[in-house]
Amino acid sequence: MSAKANHSPHSISEKAFFESSGSALKNSKLRRNFKRAMNGLMEKRRDIFPDASELEETRDRAASIRHKTLTHLPELLEKLETNCESNGIRVHWAETTEQANQIVLDIARSANVRLAVKGKSMVSEEMHLNAFLEKHGIEAIESDLGEYIIQVVNELPSHIIMPAIHKNLDEISDLFQEKVDPNRSSKSAEEMTATARLIMRQKFHDADMGISGVNFAVAETGTLCLVENEGNGRFSTTLPKVHVAVMGIEKVVESLQDLPPLLKMLTRSATGQPITTYFNMISGPRGEGELDGPEEVHLVLLDHGRSKIYEDELLRETLLCIRCGACMNHCPVYTRIGGHAYNAVYPGPIGKILTPQIEGIENLGYLANASSLCGACVEVCPVKIPITDILLRLRRNHVRKKTARHWTDLNGGKSLMELMTWKGWKQVLSQPSLYRIQASLLSRFGNLLPAQIPVLREWARSRNLPRFSKKPLHKLVEDAGIDHE
């Protein structure tokens, strides 16, 4: 089951998550695809970081650069704007995705744009930009091969680096035959890539506008940096007469010198490559006397909840992210349910901390619960985001929101029950006499509890119930005469 491109921001719900993850778990082909892909990516990352202490050093360096950005964020954004503008890059600011979409549309209209080609951009997915442009009569074609594949079948990306990772060769071959080139049937990745190359070449040739994201924006020189392997990003940002770059406000860095460690950590963490084919540094539209390059370059700075995240010292670290995808590659939950089950723009661990904060913790706070807190993500994050600590904080915030509204909440019954459960738990566990009574009862009758009651029922679906010891430890301790003080 793949998520169809869904453009309603409030279509995600806890119930939907259980449904989508449930059906993903039963989809053996999907699980095989993800397992193979994630194993491959984990191995590639392991291989490119042979020296553990060098890895830690580079992580520390990358983290310190990103912390520097956060500490000086407003000044850096102003500096970026000043230097971009003096380079001829027009800078626009948007608090919401609606505003951002309108800005892009206005630019497109001024330039009589009918066809836009897009490089991969997660921010543009946050904006649901393609759908918005289509609604206003502008065709927006994805040029990255993975994005192109899913656009053809109207699906959302399932991974932030490899959007079509949930599909295997046969599925892509079928889709190519059905929707791309009915005259050819090919099971060869080379042949399908060649077909895509031909199709996209015409689009690049014809497009009036190119849209891209930004991996890093350098304040010092007013430079937009883009990382890619295919060349579609360069085409999109160089050939059409207008280039619009959309960027989350946290992506600014102070200086050119900040780039090498970040680039190193990004490409290695993402796909195990020492560097991508292209590292594209754009510092302006077509200059005086130049023969190519866009006539207009625009940078759209998007907030979309980031300045709110910025408020809290711990939650702010969510904004350190450089979008490498390593966290989801190593996440045991993501590997098994795939990216679509999250029904969100950003899946995996980063998605669990980012989505509730930008889309609203009230409705999406449950995403922060869908983790065993194993910490695999924390271990591999190139900029050391304390993902598990942030998840714990979001759980706390979510509980506060839920329980404050439990009388009126749609999930009120469930929240109330959970609150009561923990209050009961607290009563028993904080009073030794009550605890002992409970322990006695469980050791005597616990193994007789039916597997159908709540909690045990959930456990027992895939596991046998654990067995209570005949005598609790504290009784054994007493019997053995162990000192108590």
Binding site: R336, A370, G375, R400, P432, S462, N464, E478, A480
Partner: protein, 253 residues
């Protein structure tokens, strides 16, 4: 792994925090841990009023409830003695999260002292007591699951496996993906039981693949979870806390 400077000299006595899981479900393992310490000439003190570190509520976002239970534990361990605990996960809760939990609270200082004195059992046996083991058991093939909370949250090294390697009749077989989460995650196993169940199944499949007779770990939560999946699949593989395993094989009489 902690730097060697953070381990104390061998003390005359230690406190023992049983953990609620060991207390109710793995009592023998809890007792085995105590015996292993006593055998090294250390007096073990088991405060009677202890119950739980508070992690289940804390991980679910119910911080106030977790704090009340945690406060009750702190006051049970007043003397400046090491507190040994047969669980990396509970150890992580008490070392990493009590500071935040008790910030600005009257018990803040006591909580800080408490956290600083926590040691996981295998870590204590190896680094403080320098335990030497003699194997009296029959030959057996075992495999080790590394609890992700113990390894990543607590920062536990491979001390338990070091202990196992001292046992001459024990063949330790490497578990594939041994650092991958087994799916327990406390309340995660119940709230997201389908995902958790699949993780437990995958882990138990890896365990069965090793050909080992026995699965060992530092954490009862993981053991309970993987064992449940092994039993459901009618596997012959048994599981045990490493303390029980070591105690049973190394004590005579």
């Amino acid at each position: 792994m902690k730097p060697s400077c953070s381990f104390p000299e061998k003390p005359e006595a230690v406190y023992y925090f049983g953990t609620c899981l060991a207390d109710l479900l793995y009592a023998d393992a809890g007792m085995a841990g105590i015996r292993l310490l006593q055998r090294e000439g250390v007096r073990v003190i088991y405060p009677r009023g202890q119950s739980c570190c508070g992690q289940p509520a804390f991980n679910s976002g119910f911080q106030d409830e977790a704090r009340e239970v945690a406060a009750q534990q702190i006051v049970q361990f007043p003397k400046n003695l090491p507190i040994v605990i047969p669980s990396g996960s509970c150890g992580a809760m008490m070392t990493r999260h009590y500071e935040e939990l008790f910030e600005g609270h009257p018990l803040q200082e006591k909580a800080q002292s408490f956290s600083a004195r926590i040691f996981e059992l295998s870590e204590f046996l190896v680094n403080v007591l320098n335990v030497k083991l003699e194997d009296h058991g029959d030959p057996v093939k075992v495999t080790w699951h590394s609890s992700c909370h113990a390894k990543r949250e607590y920062g536990l090294g491979d001390e338990a496996e070091q202990l196992l390697r001292q046992l001459k009749n024990v063949e330790l077989v490497e578990l594939e993906r041994k650092n991958e989460c087994c799916g327990f995650g406390g309340t995660f196993s119940v709230k997201f039981s389908e995902i958790s169940g699949v993780m437990a199944q995958d882990k138990s499949a890896d365990v069965m693949q090793t050909g080992a007779d026995l699965l060992l770990s530092t954490d009862c939560g993981c053991l309970m979870n993987i064992n449940g999946a092994l039993e459901k699949q009618k596997s012959q593989v048994q599981s045990q806390h490493f303390a029980s395993f070591i105690w049973n094989r190394t004590h005579v009489g």
